[in-house]
Amino acid sequence: MKRVIERGPAPEPIGISVPRRDGIEKVTGAASFTTDLTLPGLAHARLLRSPYAHARIRSIDAEAARRHPGVIAVVTAADLPGVQLEYGHAVADHPLIATGKVRFAGEVVVGVVAEDAATADEALRLIEVDYDPLPYATTVEEALAPGAPVLHEKAGRQGAHRGFEEDITRDHPNVCSTFRQAWGEIEDAFTGAHLVLEGTWHYPMCYAFAMEPYTSVAEWKDGELTVWSSAQHPYMVRDDLAHVFHLPLSAVRVIVPYVGGGYGSKSYTKIEPLTAALALKAGRPVRLALNVDDAILTTRGDGATVQLRSAFDRDGRLLGRQATVRLDSGAYAENSPLVGRKAANRLGGPYRIPALEVTCQVVYTNTAPASSFRGFGAPQVVFAAESQMDEAAEALGLDPLEIRRRNLVERGERPWPKVRGLDAKLADDLALAAAELDWSTPPAPGVGRAVCVSASDAGSEPVTTATLRVHPDGSVTVLCGSTEIGQGSATALAQIAAGEMGVPLEKVRLVQSDTAAVTYDRSTGASRTTTLMGLAIRNAARDVKAQLLEWARESWAGEDAPEPVLEHAGIRVGDRLAGWGEVVRAWFAGDYGEAIGRGYLRKAGETAEMPPFWEVGCVGVEVRVDESTGEIHVEKLVTIGDVGCAVNPQLAEAQDVGAAIMGLGMAMREELIYEDGNLVNGNLYDYRVPRFTDLPELRTVLVERGDGVGVYGAKGGGEGALNPVASAIANAVRRATGARLREAPFTPERVWEALRERDAANGR
């Protein structure tokens, strides 16, 4: 790993690659995940899923299952009066169990709770469901065709998150939401253009494959609900559960142990309402643990078709961009309306575009529901946008680096009206990536290189709190609602607390993700945790220090007493430095008590402007193509991790590498395929994720220019290195072979076809 550091100093251990705090637990098998949890009286649930893509449920006969020895409860929608079955983030359209109709093959129709999972499986086989199959639409084209089967007869009801009211007014029954992003005079941009390019790109539906499939355990006691779950956002799950079961927020406790990977796929509510409903009917604590095949049917990434037109002047400057994006969002809205907004926002990229008009439609189809997935709309649109930038360079005889340089917004410049100015020097990042690829030396014949960039309005909403407790011995406990999903928040956030308080890291304990024990955090996603929770912890540290200063004044007041002065690691009283613990002891007049610091973060002050930060991506690749087989060999993969301030450089680099390899998988092989209404590769044999032997030569440069909103200029990472990967590979293939790839993943068949198209175009 190389590092470019152009930021001010940060107090240790911020900026140091301390070992992960979850390390020993994770290498000894002691780390506890939801799947490892047991409770007294724990019962086990299994689910019956629809074999049909679209069908009315005529009747369910579960009598034999109910009578099966060892069965505790059999639950259908009809068994849940008084439960608000539909929930959702943008649109409350997702019933926790099918109500009268199924909308995709794999939808949950019946839940069985038994003494053990094997018994529940036996009982499932005794259930008879009479379906009335309906015509279905598993592609966006089918769903928007005249006379298409309608998935949701009723118009969408606003979900838990406000702000989508306009998006979800439907102009077509199968359009879940529409978002339009526009500025400037788009007509003029195209009339005055020297070059207009137009094309259509396809990005597949993908599966995040978090290795721990969705797992939840629910327990009711005295009308209060506790749920343990593999969830990224415990507070959002709490809110949905309270809504579904008509409970006060305080009656719902969501606890998240270690999470076995998320990548966005464990954002928002998944199987928690269903698990809680099963526990309610069973009168016992219930465990619902999906396997990978079921997890694929729970959430996937949105597939996309991007029609893109761009206008350039003769020097390669962008004059306008116009696009229609259609997302294949599956049977339920989930978070796709937000993915759609982000896709539209991220299509402008980090470029100065005088006029833009993007319409993004989120379309219901009879497939597994799509929701958040790492990159969040960006990988889909960046593939199109960055491919077209290279096409423009080629048409105008410009170096692909040069055309980007001419269009990139400067640091501080707003990519579009009313947003925060870009907080990165992308032209410099681009130069670093090019240098890693030896850009100025021409590649060998048959080898192609490319460098691509992206900018995502990241961070989600800056609504976050933290609590910082100072104990009488000077040690510190931090309570925060951010989840350790593998990204290293348990380590990086403790480093921030230690750095801000000036106490050794060993004296900081971080408690995370228990809605009854820690204070509110909106979410763990959108690369926001280090930046936004970091700021909340800093604010809590400031708050507690201010209190301690006051306490020092009160405790040590007197005629000639020197005025206490706040210092980094304690309070100076005359020529003596009193540690935080000493101040606590003095104020309580004993070896007890504690000081409580409150850290709030909201859309105000430094985080008033949206987005809270930009997450930039800058990736370079070098590829070789075997023209006889259509196989692409990605030989080098360069990522520039522009994170402002790397609180833990090793972990920041790890995010970049992990994201880039995930991007490689999606570009090269990953794609969920539907045939005849069914997912035909919904398992890990057929859905191929990257393996050890797919690893290219990797180079990472961490760039720290202190330009983010977070502590010491930190800003988010973890998605940026994924977003431009597909476009970079496609552009490099073009430069190696002359073939243009517009549909990901780049399977050998598709590459081979693109090579034949090239030959046809060249008259060969």
Binding site: T28, A210, E212, L684
Partner: protein, 157 residues
Amino acid sequence: MRETVEISLQVNERAQSLRIEPRETLADVLRDRLGLTGTKVSCDAQVCGACTVLVDGRTVSACTFLAVDADGGAVRTVEGLARDGVLTPLQQAFIDEAAFQCGFCTPGMLMAATALLEENPHPTEDEVKEGLDGNLCRCTGYAPIVAAVLRAAEAGR
């Protein structure tokens, strides 16, 4: 009543006699009967390697390996690697290289790499990649795991 059978195993050098159902996998027995939840199940179909344990020194996928087939054998799991709180060089190298993020693949990865290094104490980079190709990791992008295994090889496993 379901049919049960009696099996005897050495698990991390401890003798265990258990009455189990013949359909129970080794993963079921380790996790549910012995409380050794370090062994993880992900794909449940012998594709991902998360459940890798050693039976008589050989790697098996505990998610599909029937416990009865381990009868009389010696099983090693992630819980058996460190002794008296002292990590093996491989475990230490995983920490030093940040060779995990979520840690869900890690127990299986450690067991597969332990077997690899026992068979080939000084593997090349390519041998590490080939040897671990049956173990998936979705977080790390693999590079730090390769580095950790090579580092452990240098440190003497």
